[in-house]
Each structure stands twice: as C-alpha cells, then as structure tokens.
Symmetry: C7
Subunit: 273 residues, 7 copies
C-alpha cells in the first residue's frame, strides 16, 4: 500500500527549514553591514579628495544597487539549492549565454569601470578643455558609459569611456605661451635678443602672465633663419591670446629696429646649358 | 515475478509533480513582473530624455522578446531537469558549439549592444551630419546592427555599429566659421586688422551668425605671410556658406585697400659657378 | 548460481523505453514547428525588405540545414544519455578539440555570420560599384564566405566576408559631380563666377544631371590661386563623364574670357651674395 | 574466507560485453557511412566548380584522414569508459595541455582552414599573378599551410595561409591599360584629343586589345598641365607592353603635331630686396 | 512516529565541529605567518634597493590587505563547505559574473600590476622628466592605477599604468648636448673644425659640462652643406641651455672667421624655350 | 572489536592489481608503436623533400622526447587514478596555473610551432639572404625558438620565430637586374633605345646574366624625363654588381651619343610685380 | 544511545594514515630527484653555451624556487584531499580569481618567460649596443622583468621584456662602414672611382678596418648626381669614426682633383608671360 513516509518528510523539512533560517539570518546580517561598508568607503574616499557631495551620492547609489542585485541573485541561487530543485543545468546554460554576451559586452563593462575611475579620480570636470582618445574640446557631460566633448568647431563628440586610455587635461594649472621667431643669418643675434627682452619686459606686467615671458636664446639653425624662442607661463586658457599679442609686438618691434624675419633663401649658381 | 513498485512510482510522481507545480507557479509570477519592470524601466529612461514614443516602443518590444525567449529556455531546461532526462551532456555540447559560435558571433552581440546605447543615448538621429568610424555624411537609418550613412559624394555607407567607437555629431548646436588669411610681411598688421574688423561688422547682422565673426589677431608667422584669423559662430550647416562669403568679401576689401595676399617668397642669391 | 535479475532488467527497459518514447515524440513535435517558424521568419523578414524570391529560398535552406544537423546531434547525445553509455568523456574531449578548432576557425564562423547579414540586409548586389575592406570595384559574386570584387584594372579580389567591416556602396542613388577650379589672384572673382554660372546653365539640361551643377563660391585661398567650386548631382556612374565635360567647358570658356588658370607663383627677391 | 563473487563478475562481464558489442557495431555502421558522405560531398562540391580531379582527391584524402583519427580517438575514449578505467583525469589534463597548445597553435589550424578554402574556392592557381598579404608575384605552390609566391625580383616568398586575408588575383580576365598624358594649358584640348583618338584607332587592330583604347577626356587640371586619359582593355599580362607602346606612339605623335608635354611651370615675380 | 536520530546528529555535530576546529586553528597559524612573510619580503626587497620607508610601508599595507581579504574569502567558502550548505552553484554563477567582469576589468588588474612594479623597481620618481606612452613631461604623482605627468605646455596627463609599456626616464644621469652645424662646400673643413675646437675648449670649464664638448668630424654631406658635429655630456636638464649657448658661440665665431653657414644651393641651367 | 575486512582488501587488491597490469601492458604496447610511427613519419616526410639527415634526426629526437614526457605524464595520472588517491583537485589547480602560464607562454609554443615548420618546409637555410619580420640579412642560425640573422651593416638580429609571419627568401633562384634611366623629352626615343640595346648585347655574354638584359621601352613620363627600362635575370646575389656595371656603361654610351640624362626642368614665366 | 563507532574511525584512520605515508614518501623521493634534474639541465645547457657561472646559478636558483613552491602547493592540496576537507570549492573560486588575475598579469608571466630566454640564449650582454622595442642604446642591466637601456642622449629606458620581440645586437662582430658620395654628371666616373680607390688604399692599413674599404661602383643615378659607393668592414663601434674620416678624405681629394660634389641642378626655361 502506498503511504507517505512522514518521518522522512518531517526530517527533510526540519533540515531544509533549518538551512533556510540560517540562510535568511545570514543575509539579514550581511546586507546592512555591506551597505554601511560601502557608505563608509565612499565617505572616506571622497572626503580625502574634495569630491562634490552630489557625485559621492551618485557613486554610493550605483554601488548599493550593484550590491542589492548581487545579494538577491545569490539568495535565489542558494534558495533553489536548498529546496533541492537542481539549478545546475540552468546555471551551466546561463554560463554559455553569459560567455557569449560577455565577449560582446565586455566593452560595456570596460566603459563603466573606466568611467568609474574617471569620476573617482576627478581626471576631468565638466567645462575642462581636454584631449581624450584623439578628440579635443570642452567636456560637456561625463557619464558612466560615455563622455561628451564639444569640439572647438562646434561638433559634439560622444566618446565611449573605454576609448579613453590617457587623459590630457589642459585646464589644470597654468599654461605655457611659446613663440618661435626666425631672424636672418645676417642680423645680429645679440641685438635681436635685446629687442625680444624689451618686449618680454613689457609683458611682465600683463596679468595674464604668471611667469613673465623670457627669451631662451638660439633654439635652432633653420635653413634660412636663426630661430629664437620666447617662453612664458600664463593663466589657463589665456595662452593663445598672449601668444598672439607677443607675435604682433615682435613684428612691430623688429620692423622698428630693422630686424628681418627672413623669407626662404636660396643660392643660385648659373651655368650655361 | 515482475511487478511495478507502485509505491515508488507514486512517491516519485508526487515529488516530480510538486516540483513542476512550484516551477510553473514561479514562472507565472516572474513573467508578468519582469515584463512590467521592463516597461517601467523604459518609461523612466525615456521620459527623462525626450525619447520619441516610437523608439521607446521599439526598445520595449526588443527587451520583452529577449526576456520571453530566456524564460522559455530556462523553463525547458528546468522541466527536463525535473523529469530526470539528463540534459547535462546536451548542454555541455551546446556549450562547445556555443563557444565556437560565441567567438565568431561576438561581433554581432557587440553590434547590438552598441546599437542599443546609440539609440538610448540619442547619440545620432536620422538626418544628422556625423563622422563615425571614418565615414562622413548624413545618417539615413539607424539600426540595431548597422547604421547607414549617406556620404556627401552620394555613396551609401553601411557601418556595423561595433565599428562606431566614437561618434562626432556635427548637428548638435552652432558651428564655427573660421577663415585664416595671410598678409605679406610688408603690409601693416593694424591696417589689415582694421579692414577685417569692418568686414566682421558687416557680417554681424547676417542672420546665419549666432556669434558675429571677430578678428583674433596674428595667428602665426608663415614662411611668406603673416596669418590673421577671423572666427565666428553660425547656425548649424551654415558655416561653409558663411566662410565662403567672408572669404570673397576679404579678397574684395583687400584689393580695395591695396593689401597683398602674398605669393610664396624666396630670396635668391646669385653666385658665379 | 548466476541468474539474470529479470525484474530489474524489465523495470530498466520500461523506464528507458518510456524516456525514449517521450524523447522521440518531443522531436517529432519540435522539428516541424521549428521548420515552420524559420519559414515564417524568412517570409516576414523578406517581404518587408523586397528581397528576391531566390535569395529568400537560399537563406531558408541554409537555416533549415543548420536546424536539422543540430536536432540530429541533440537527438544522438540524448539517446546515448538514456541508454546509459557514458558519452561524457567523449564530449569533454570533443570540447578540447572543439576549442582548438574554435580558435582557429572562428574566422570561418565570422565570415558566415557577416555574409549572412550582408545578404539579408542587401548591403551589396552583384554589379554594384563598392568599396569594401580597401578593395574597390564591381561586385561579381556574393558568397557566404567570400565576396568577389572585380577591380577597375581587371584584377579579381576575393574578400573574406569577415574583412568587410564597413561597406561603401557607390551604386545606391545619385552621385555628386564636383569640380574645383583655381583662378589667379589678379582675376575678378565675380566675373569668373559669372562665367561658371553660364556653364552650369548649359549643363542644366544635360540629362545626366539630377540636380543641375551650381557654383558654390570661393572654396579656399591657395598659395597661388583662388579656388572656386562647382557642384552638382548626377545619375549613378555618370559623375566622372559629367565632371570631364564640365572641366573641358570651363577651360574653353576661361580661355574665351581671358581668365587665367594660374601656374604656381613665386616672388623672387634678388640679393647680392 | 575470501571468495570471488562470480555472480557479480558475470553480470558485469555481460553488461560490459553488451555495451562493447553495441559500440563496435555502431562504429562499423558509422565509419563507412561517414566516408561515403565525404566522397559524395567532395564530388558534389567539385563537379559544380570544375575542380581538377587531382585536387578533389587530395581534399577527399585529407578529410577521410581527419575522420579516421577522430573515430579512432572516440573509440578509445569510449572503450576505456566502458571497461571502467577512469580516463577523466587524463582527459582533464589533456585539456589543460590542449588549451596551452591551442593558444600557441591556433595559427596552424587557421593556416589549414584558410588553405582549405583557397584550394576549394580556386582563389589562386599555380602560375597566377597575385597580390596576397602584401606580397606580389607569381604563385609557385599552394599548400595547406603555406603558399609560395615568386616575386618579380626573383625572391621566393613563403606566405602562411592565415596571413592571406584578401586575395587579389591579377590573372582572372582582361586587364586595363591606362595612360595619363599631360598637355600644356596653352595647347588646344580638342586638337590633342584628336591626335590621341588617331593613335587609339591605330591600336584598335592590335590583337592585345580586347576593348580598343579610347580617349576619356580631361581627367584633371594639374598645376602645370591638363591631364588627358586613354584607357583600354587588353589580354591578361599584356597591359604593360601595350601601355609602353601607346606611350611611345603618343610622344612621337605629339612631337609631330607640336603638342607640348609640359615641364613644371612657375610664375616668377621679381621684387627688389 | 517521528523521532530525531540523535545519534546521527551528534556524530555529525562532532565531525563538523572537529573539522571547524581544525580549520580555525589552521587559519590562526597561517594568518600571522603569511603577514610576517610579507613584511620580511618587503624589507628584503626594499633594503636592497634603497626604497624610501614610506613607499615600503605602502606596499606592505597593500599586500597585507590583499592577503586578509583572500583569507576571509577562503575561510567563508570552507566554512560553508563544512556545514554542508552547497555553495557550489553560487561559486559557479560567481564564476560567470567573474568572467564577464574579468574581461572588462582586466585593464584594472593590469594597471595595478604594472603600477606595482613601477613603484618597486623605482622606474620613475616624482619630479623626473620622463616619456611614457607617448606623453612627455614631469611626473607629478605615481599611483597604483594612474600616473600623472605634467607636460611642458602645462597640460596634466593622466596615464593609466597599463599604457606604460616602456619608460624613458630622462632624469637618470648626465645628458648629451649635440649640435650639428653645416658649413658650405667651399669652406675649408680643417679651418672650421679648428674654430669649433676652440669653442669646445672655451666650454670645457663650463660647469654644466661633465664631459667637455668635442668635435666629432664630418657627420654627413648635405645637399648644400658639409655637416660637422659637436657633442658633449652635461648635467641633467642642462643640455638645452648648453646647446643654445654653443649654437650662439658658433654663429659668432663663424661670422668672425668668415665661415659660411650656407643657404640651400641650386645650380640653374638656362635654356631657351 | 576492530578487525580488518580481509575479504574486502583482497578483492580491492585484485581489482586494482588487474587494472594496473592492463595499464602497464597497454603502455608497453603503445610506447614502441608510437616511436616507430614517428620514425616512419619523419622518414617519409624527409625522403620526399631532400631534408638533410642531421635535420631529420633532430626532428625525430624532438618528437620522441615530447612523446616520452606525454606518456610518462599520462601513466602517472592513470596510476594515481587506479590506486584511488584523488588527483582531481591537483589537476584542477594545475589547470588554473597552467592557464595562467598558457596565457603568458603561448608565445613560446607559437615560436616552436613556427620554428618546426620553418625547419620542416626548409623555408630558410643558413647562409640564405632573407627578409623576415622586417629584418634583412644573412641567416646565421635557425633555432626552434629564435632565428639569427646577420644584417648587412653587421648587426646580429635575434628574431623569435613567432614574429616570422611571411618569409622572403632572396636566395632561391635567379634574381632580376633592373635599371631605369631617364632621357630628356628633346632626345629621340628610338635612338636611345638603340643605344640601350647595344649595351644589352654587350652584356648578353656576361656569365652573370641568365636571361640577357633587354630594353622594355617607355616605362613612364616623368616630370622632366622619359623613363626607359632595362631588365634582365642574373645569378643569385650578382644582381647588384650587374646593375652597377650596366649603369656605368649606359652613362658612358649616352655621353658618347650625346644623349642627355636630364636635370629637373622648370619653365619660368617672369611677371612684373 | 550515542556511541562512537570506533571500528569505523580506526579503519578510516588506518586508511588515511596509509595514504599520507605514501604521499610523504612520494614527495621525499620526487623532491631531490627534481632538484638534481634541474641542476643537471642547467649544467648541460650552460656548459654548451659558455654561460658565465654566476648566470647559471641565478637560473638554477630561480628554477628550484619555482619547483619548491609548486611541490608545497601540490602537497597541501593532496593533504587536504586525503583528510577529506573538501578543498574543491576553494580551488574553484581560486580558479575564478586566478583567471581574473591571469588576464591582468599575463604580461608579467610573458616578461619572465622572454627574460628567461634572453638570459639563456645570451641575446644581449651588459654593455652591448642594441636596438630593442624601438629603443636604441647601451644595455645597463638585464632583469627577468625589465631590461634597462641607456640611450645615447643619456636617457635611461626601462623596457619590459615582453616588449622585446626582436633583438638587434650591434655589438656582435664587425660592422660595416658605408659612404655614398655623389659626383656631377659632367665629371668622369672612371677618374672619380680612381680617386676613391686611392683613398681606400690609404685606409687599408688603418687598423680599424677588418676588410679594407672598397669602391663598389655606380650605386644609382640621382636627380643631379651620379652616386658612387664606398664600403668596408671595421672593428665594432669604430664604423662611425671610420666613415667620418673617409668622408673628410674624399672631400679633400675631390677638391684636389677638381671633382665636383654637385648641388641640386635645375634647368630653367624662360617663357614670356
């Protein structure tokens, strides 16, 4: 006669129930601890590095979200494991699909990991003038997946973060103003340097200059000119204007002192054919 | 004598049946919840970002399709697991094939993932003038797998989305009009700048210009000319026409003021052979 | 004494037999459903996109072939699983070989996946003038693995489909005819533009032109010439002939109006050595 | 007391024996079927594509060899599985080694797969003039692993097949003969085209030409010349000789008609320093 | 009647308890040993290589942190294993996620590994002038993930350590000062070398020079000049100033000795047109 | 009371012993067969391809070594499997390490595989003049891992075999001697070709030439010269000397016949500024 | 009542103990054998290749270290396996971490493998002048992970060994001295070659030359000069000095014999504008 083996069922139930209780308690303990750990981690990281409050909250939310989904997933997997519905094949096939997706979507993960560190390390801020991944312009938006850069010609570049291998940030400190100027081989180098020094003195009081422009000397011998170099340090983004003004002044001063900015020269030797 | 062990069969049947019931109930609960979650996710994502209704529906359909196939697959796998037909080897071999395909088809997954984000983040719209993956032109169609771009010479480019690493969208905002013009070293810079300023004033009322063109100053010293730069901001796609008109005006004004746009210069020194 | 345990054998047989029956029935149901699903899928995909009947059949055959082999393989694996000959080690070793092959042959899978989509999306047709993977020419044959392109110099290029990342199809719509012509700095721009406009008017009735050629204006300042641009839209493949004819007409008209197409200019300054 | 459990041993023996018999029968059935399938496949593939008999046999041999080794390997694995010597660890470790080798040797597999398709699709033949993987020359030998190409300077290039991504075969059909010739801006285009047309007529009866050479017209405006283009189609490998002869005739005809092939021009403007 | 099998439970408890005790003892022994091993390793590595105390402590902390997390993870896994909650599926799924992340985040691991060795091998120090990954400048900060380099134009470059394949450190030792100077073919080489030698003698007492500058001789024949080379070794970062001063002196001395730094030469042969 | 279950132990021992005996016999049979198979394989491969005896022995030794280590490894694994010490975890961990190493060391495997085929296919010999992996020179040593090439400037290049993708062997057959010579547009082409043909006749008896040099005709129109081409086939490595001698003869013959090798020409048009 | 089953425990203990004894004995036997094998291997490898004693010891130490750690690891794994604490999950999770690390750290393994072979094959020595991975200079230190190269400008390059694909060692044998010298088309080639031969004779007794410099003949026709080539073989590192001296002598001899080293020539044809 068919009879349920109540003993066996009861034992099983007690065992399974006990395991479930342990599991639930474990999760009730781990979940808040992990969340607090994340909060503390974020606080600590951000307080040391002057990260804005808003950004800290964004990062915290993101991490807690990831944590929650992971815990739910783990709970489900272990729950099925305990009530003995074999979830193995499911996981195995999920593995195959997961692998296929992992290959295709690794770029996405890579985007997010890189984006996370760009945010955390404050490599770029909105409004910075940067060069990343060959794109040049003003940062308009920094996202976890893409960064938007407005090129100087008005184009809006969407750059996936994974493409950003090295970041060149042109808005972090003073910039160099550099003017190379060629004088002819016939001109006197000392006189030219003298004129340039006078110009540099004029600009020393220009408030754009942090380190007044200086004359470095003979940078190189060109094919038709002796190249002199003037160098200085300016406020950020003021370098181009400063260079333009120095260039104009040099031209005027050289004209006044009769110093030649030479055209290309060639020596012609005439031969009868 | 051979006899069926009805007890065993009954127990088994009850057990299997119970598991099946739990499984089916689980799916009946999960399926609508997951679908609603997707709908809500799409709604939330799209309402924040002004995505068109049609696009939102496309994305929702795609995601619900993927979900359905996944759930059906999971159900089949778990069903076989419960009725104890060993589906393990099948999955294992599927894994090998899946791996082989995954290697070959990761490009496809990559296409779709990238296409999904291009749609979601509205990086490009049909009709935009963009530069992606080295192709330059007007977007004709954005698909999950390929984007079609009509080059300015009439060629239709099919670009797999995975090739699109960075998107340069030239139709998002005002564009820069930039004209570099060389004057000879003998000409007076101030006079030339003055002429250019007058031209800029003329164009200030041109409705194509959002920020009236300005003269920046001495951009560089060329080998035979002093390069001056005029810069402005125009309505999108009006930059080329504006540049052409400025160029024509400059030529005319320079002719009128006797300012030279110099040919290449060379100093010749004659020597006897 | 040795005796067969008939009971056990019978039970086993019944069990195995039952499983086999379920398996066979499952396959008998799945197989035609899957085939019909493919047919419907192809019909739906192709009816929307004007794919030729022949191509639709090719794709359908290919997919049903793949399906059949997969089902047979699955059936064999599950059959061995049921009659309890351990096929696991076989599969494991097949996995190792499969992996080795997968690495080497992923190019092949990649070829077929790409080829499939080129066919399905009708990116190229036989007879189209295309640029793919750096090869330029007329498509002679599109295969699942390789595409054959006849270069304009007569060379036959075999391009593996995986190499085809972006397709530039020059036979999908009207093409641009573009002629840049330089006039000397001494010539009058307005006059030259007038002459070019007259020529454009002549060509407006040329049936090769879809959008009659227009004069855009001053495209750029060259070192010795002012560059003017004429642009138009022509029937496909007629752009080169149209450009040649415009060029010839411009030369004749400029000769008639005494407008110079300038040689490179140079200003020579003579200096004593 | 120690006693053999003959019952157990007998049952085992019968079971194992039964499985072995099934296994052997399975192989005896599969082996010839698979071989015949290969033969038929090859026949079908090759009869459609005019593959030479010798090549068909080579391919058939190769495939049957691979099949044989695979079947022997499978048989051994399953045999050990049945007589219950655990071959699992062996396979696992073989897997690790196999993986290490697979990484290193995937190039080899890749060579063979590509070589197989180059043979099957008849992309190149011995004696063809081809460009593959940057090497240019006459094919001397096509192997499964390497292809040997004799460069025109006498060098023998060994090209691993995997390097052959796209094949440019210059020996499949007629080739283009193309001569660009510049005339001076002062010469009359119509006269020059007339002269060229006469020359083309002379060559029309040249048996090397499949499509008699034609004058296309004004190809471009060079800095010092108007470029005219003559184009034709010749027998394979005759294009260079034909081009050389056309060039010689053009020079002679231009000399006779006083049409100038111009040297680079420059306009010199003399200025006092 | 249902009854707990206390015997079984007790046995189990004793067994599990015993294993737990062994496990805990094992960890109590391993943990301090491992920590001490790390300390000793760091001490040994650093004492040999003059690593600063602060850096040694940073490395030690990092390694001990990694160790702690690993030990905790291992403990948890083994703990669950002992109390028989099947953690296998959890780990398997963790594996799939881990794999997906591993693909995306391998760059991060790569950053840290490279950063670790850059720190340990003291390849760069803060303040060094280096060229890494195409970026050129002064090191501002060396981190485990990114290195910050201040370019000479003021830009701050963030370089992920993984991009740093080869490090060129320009601040490790004396630098070369090199001046190439061309004299005309008409000048006497011996005289020019004599003049250069005198200049070199003047600079020999310059304290910037570690190895006084020397004249090497005729470096090459240019198209218009005979190139002579002067070479020397200077204090680090003094090379550019030294080169500039040498250049100025050479120009002055050549002027004084009437030695020509020649312009490009050309022989003109006049022919009637 | 504690008692050994001698029956069980005996049965086990007999079983294990039986398996061991089978295992050992299997290896005793397989080992010599495999070795002989290798010998025969090598003999067959080498006898067909004129491989030197020494090289055949090297290859045979290598393969037998690999075989021996593999068999020993397999034997150990199976031995442990039979005496029931669970070697699974060991293999699993070996797998992880193996994987880590495999990633790092795949280059090594790749070197050996490529080296093996370079030896087997006799792509290069010691003393050959080859171009591999961008290195150009005489082969000094061919190893399984690296190939040593002596550049013509005396440098010794160590090239890892994996870098050798395509081999260009310049010592396998006759080489081409090619001389391009420009004559002026004013000279008579027929006369120049006549002179060149005479020179070719002189060289026809030169024993360096395998195919006497021939004049091909007008190769191209340069900007200032008509380019004629002379081509021939010489003994290996004699091409440069032959070319030098032809060049010298052409110069002398052209001087004698008053045929000009023209300098660059330019037409100068003088304009008043 | 609860009672320990002493029989079972005893049997277990005996079994486990027996296995442990076998294990320990196995390791006591394998360890010294493996160490001796390594020593012998190193001795054999190094005695054949003149490796210095110090280097041999370094390699031996390294290999024995690796061996020790591997044996300890294997021992621990098998020990846990025998005392039946399930170490499987631990290993599995280690595998996942290991994989993640393997991806990131494969560069490190690759460094060491390459470094090992560079040391073993003596490809470079400290003090050699080499070109590796695009860096050029004198080797300062060869490590297992990085090689330090001192550039000629004083920069210290740290090159990870994995970057070293091909090694160009410029310090292994005599070097070539090569001087190309152009003479004018008007000069007599035979006379110039005669002068060069005299110079070569002068240098034949120069002890820097191993193979006295020789005149090869007419290397090429330049646009304005006939290029002659002088070639020789010198002691290592003496090539540059030798070349400089030859150049100086040629200039002097040509001056003395009135042979021209020509400037670029141009034929000017004057035309009226």
């Amino acid at each position: 006669m068919f009879r349920f083996d109540w003993d066996y069922i009861l034992t099983q139930t007690v065992q399974v129930g006990g395991k479930l209780v342990i599991l639930i308690i474990a999760f009730l303990i781990i979940s808040p601890i992990a969340k607090r750990a994340i909060s503390r981690l974020i606080n600590k990281s951000t307080s040391n590095k002057n990260v804005s409050q808003a950004r800290a909250i964004t990062l915290e939310k993101l991490l807690i979200n990831i944590l929650s989904y992971t815990l739910i997933f783990v709970f489900i997997v272990m729950f099925f494991g305990i009530i003995d519905i074999n979830i193995g094949p499911l996981l195995a096939s999920a593995g195959v699909i997961g692998l296929a997706v992992a290959f295709g979507a690794q770029g996405l993960v890579s985007d997010i990991v890189t984006g996370f560190f760009i945010l955390l390390e404050k490599q770029i801020d909105v409004g910075d003038y940067v060069t990343v991944a060959g794109y040049d312009g003003i940062v308009e938006e920094i996202g976890l997946r893409t960064t938007q850069i407005r090129g100087f010609d008005g184009t809006l570049h969407f750059v996936p973060n994974r493409e950003i291998s090295g970041v060149s940030n042109h808005s972090r400190g003073n910039m160099r103003a550099l003017v190379d100027i060629g004088i002819s081989y016939e001109d006197n180098i000392d006189q030219a340097i003298g004129v340039l020094k006078e110009i540099c003195n004029e600009f020393e009081n220009d408030e754009r200059f942090v380190e007044g422009p200086d004359v470095l000397g003979v940078q190189s011998f060109g094919s038709s000119e002796v190249v002199l170099r003037v160098i200085g340090k300016t406020e950020n983004m003021a370098q181009w204007g400063a260079e333009r003004d120095i260039r104009k002044r040099i031209k005027e001063a050289f004209d006044a002192h009769n110093i030649d900015i030479p055209y290309p020269h060639q020596v012609n030797i005439t031969k009868e054919s």
